[in-house]
């Protein structure tokens, strides 16, 4: 008889492998939700028992008060305002291009360096304080170098956002968004001027400098009932 003696394991047909893989692939394609989380980032102030002690020291002109009442209407610096005007108004407050008396005061970078040098001298002997003061001085000196020795005027302005308990969250976020937009615009313009790129396209180092020069000073006030 002409029997075959060779009896290896028969090869498994892999033709349907692609079908199985396709099936799995389609399952994952359908179930995947590529939801990248986005949001407005905020740093809360540390908790303290006795509150609102320090706000009195800030000069009136350096504060931009935005109130939202429980009907979602805005009161900006004591006057009712439509949300569409808020960004422009906030931008004007943050930049104060004409150095108006009723808009915020500014400090020069060179002044900041002087202050840092004075502190450094004052804390001589105390090791920890010296390290802190030295770091502060270095940061400012480096910032000045990065912007080509230009004496940038840093705004002292703070935007204070206050809301009622009845304000809707949607409106609150819309207002926050407008305020952040005002800062972003200023940051973009500044980084264009010094680095030739919008803020997002700058290197991390450059972004840090811009952040130092234009801090996003939005304060979310302690809760209180402002009615409506």
């Amino acid at each position: 008889m002409a029997k075959k003696k060779k009896r290896g394991v028969p090869e498994i047909n892999a033709g349907s492998m692609a079908d199985i893989a396709f099936l799995l692939l389609i399952f994952f394609l359908v179930t995947t939700t590529m939801d990248t989380d986005t949001g407005i980032v905020r740093q809360l102030p540390p908790w303290q028992e006795q509150q609102n002690e320090n706000t009195d020291k800030i000069n009136e002109r350096n504060i931009f008060v935005v109130l939202i009442n429980r009907d979602d209407r805005l009161l900006v610096e004591g006057r009712p305002m439509d949300i569409s005007q808020l960004r422009e108004k906030a931008y004007e407050f943050v930049t104060n291009p004409l150095a108006k008396e009723n808009l915020p005061d500014k400090t020069l970078v060179s002044r900041r360096i002087e202050v840092a040098q004075t502190t450094l001298l004052a804390v001589q002997g105390d090791e920890n304080a010296t390290a802190v003061a030295q770091a502060e001085l270095d940061t400012w000196t480096k910032a000045k170098e990065m912007i080509g020795g230009d004496d940038f005027a840093i705004s002292k302005g703070i935007i204070s956002l206050q809301n009622d308990r009845g304000t809707t969250y949607g409106q609150y976020i819309t207002v926050q968004n407008e305020l952040v937009a005002a800062f972003s615009r200023y940051r973009d313009e500044t980084s264009m001027k010094y680095f030739g790129n919008p803020f997002d396209k700058c290197t991390v180092e450059q972004q840090d400098v811009i952040k130092l020069l234009i801090p996003q000073a939005i304060s979310e006030a302690e809760p209180k009932n402002i009615g409506g």
Partner: protein, 157 residues
């Protein structure tokens, strides 16, 4: 040379599909790796507000989520339709936030604790009162990094 004999027959040779499974597997692995399965089951309705000035959140493992919104219709019979807080998989009250923050911290590396962040996923029609209360609780438990989660929209300038 004999090796370079021209294919004189007119019909096109069949394309080998032997590498097709490899390609498909590659895609499959990509999606398997990039897929993030939802870890919590939402019990509240959350339609997040829209904003354009947003930042992308990096390091998802360091973010703890607080959901606030009206309960889903299945729970409304017992809980009513007033906005409720959801932590992990269950409804919670303001008093639970402190303990929750502590447990979230314990589950992370000690070195990562300063980088931890709380993300508020709040329904846009919720009143700010409850959000303010949550913020105060977070301040008390010293969880100061906060994001208001939003849907990103692009605006024409």
């Amino acid at each position: 040379m004999a090796n370079f004999k021209k294919n004189t027959k007119g019909d096109t040779p069949a394309i080998s599909t032997a590498s097709l499974p490899d390609i498909v597997f590659m895609l499959l692995f990509f999606f398997m790796v990039s897929t993030t399965m939802r870890e919590v089951e939402l019990k509240v309705q959350v339609t997040m507000p829209e904003a354009s000035q947003v930042k992308k959140l990096e390091k998802k493992s360091l973010i703890s989520y607080i959901y606030v919104g009206p309960p889903l219709s299945a729970y409304q019979a017992t809980l009513g339709s007033a906005p409720r807080i959801q932590l992990n998989n269950s409804f919670a009250s303001l008093r639970d936030i402190d303990a929750w923050i502590t447990s979230e911290r314990e589950s992370r590396d000690e070195a990562d604790i300063p980088m931890m962040m709380t993300a508020l996923k709040v329904d846009q029609d919720t009143e700010m009162g409850i959000v303010t209360d949550i913020k105060q609780e977070l301040r008390k438990s010293n969880a100061l990094k906060l994001t208001y989660s939003t849907r990103r929209v692009f605006e024409n300038l």
